[in-house]
């Protein structure tokens, strides 16, 4: 999986949001709020380029004190939301 072109993480008074700014995302029109974990994962996914549930879950375990099962279920939920919003492919 990878992030679609043109989606940018922005800080709005401390809240993290994803907006469509690039040419491929001009007509997105929506705005997606991310909690701290999701924002961290978005950045990690950008660093990884090509990513998966497993690659992000293991990154999450390295950074935060969280069990592998919990990490995997959190990542799965967040990725499902991103897929639903069509900001990853």
């Amino acid at each position: 999986m990878k992030q679609k072109d043109g989606f940018v993480l922005r800080d709005v008074c401390g809240d993290k949001v994803i907006v469509g700014e690039g040419l491929a995302a001009i007509d997105f029109g929506k705005l997606l709020s991310l909690n701290e974990t999701a924002a961290w994962l978005w950045q990690k996914a950008a660093d990884q380029g090509e990513f998966s549930v497993d690659s992000l879950a293991s990154a999450l375990c390295e950074e935060y004190e969280v069990s592998p099962e919990k990490a995997k279920s959190d990542v799965t939920n967040i990725l499902a939301r991103w897929q639903e919003m069509e900001i990853v492919e």
Binding site: C13, L23, I26, L31
Partner: protein
């Protein structure tokens, strides 16, 4: 050729063209000034059927069914803006990277529309670093403050302004389409009238501190609520145009937009086109009672 000077949003600029073209700029007259010590940008207008120009197209849009707008960049980094009506050229607009100077070539089709499109284009980018932007809104003044009504075309921004004018004494229209928002050096947010007012001829050279903004949606009832920061940001994002695919534009725009929502309250009004809707938004944003 003659050169006229104008001041919009507190920023001076000049337009050089022949008399006939300048005579089309009647709605800019309230903004005419004597030659200022400094101009932020200059625009020179030529009339021609053709322009030899080669550039790479970045994006192509269709603002209406018969119009095509093309953004691009040439090999020297000039910003190119080209407009077509059906398959005929309306204009080519070539600006330097810093938006200090624009060369506008017009074919004679839709001259007034061309002048507005080209001048808002260069104004938008030349003033961005000076904490200024063009906002899509209808704006009124009331007791020395400006109130903005936002929303996509057709949601009733102009209608809501008209309802304030009819039912709330002391209200005046500032601009009905594209006023100017500016964050001053002391942090105050001010709204300026502009020569760009859409279908309503209202070209007033006035400015006021902003008291609040209201995003409108048509609905079965009148209901208003204050928006949180993220919702307010989304509203502003939809009301301010800029080529956000270019990070040199999207980043300063984002910073400006965040400052706006930190300083100005933004509300959401679901409304009917009636008297009660105007009273509700008026009492809410001004804090006054019936």
């Amino acid at each position: 050729m003659r050169r006229n000077y104008y001041k919009v949003g507190g920023h001076s600029f000049s337009v050089e063209a022949d008399e006939q073209v300048l005579s089309e700029m009647k709605e800019y007259e309230p903004f005419r000034i004597a030659e200022p010590p400094e101009s932020l940008f200059t625009v020179t207008i030529h009339v021609a059927d053709h322009l030899d120009i080669s550039y790479a197209e970045t994006v192509r849009r269709a603002p209406t069914e018969s119009l095509t707008a093309i953004n691009g960049e040439d090999s020297e980094g000039h910003d190119i803006y080209e407009y077509l009506w059906c398959d005929r050229h309306i204009f080519w607009f070539v600006c330097d990277k810093q938006y200090r100077h624009g060369e506008l070539t017009i074919t004679g089709l839709h001259v007034r529309m061309t002048l507005d499109i080209a001048l808002t284009h260069i104004f938008r980018y030349a003033t961005l670093k000076l904490q200024t932007t063009v906002i899509h809104a209808s704006a009124v003044s009331y007791h020395d403050k400006a109130y903005l009504f936002l929303g996509i075309s057709g949601t009733g921004k102009s209608t809501h302004s008209r309802l304030w004018l009819e039912h709330i004494e002391g209200t005046e229209l500032i601009n009905d389409d594209k006023p100017i928002l500016r964050i001053m050096d002391d942090g105050e947010v001010r709204l300026y009238g502009s020569p760009w007012s859409g279908k309503t001829p209202c070209y007033r050279n006035v400015d006021y501190p902003v008291g609040g903004m209201v995003k409108l949606n048509q609905g079965p009832q009148n209901r208003i609520r204050r928006l949180g920061k993220v919702e307010a940001y989304h509203v502003i994002l939809q009301s301010v145009y800029g080529r956000r695919w270019d990070a040199t534009v999207s980043t300063p725009l984002h910073e400006l937009e965040v400052k706006l929502i930190e300083r100005v309250p933004i509300w959401h009004l679901e409304c009917l086109p009636d008297h009660e809707a105007a009273k509700l938004s008026w009492t809410t944003v001004t804090g006054e009672q019936n």
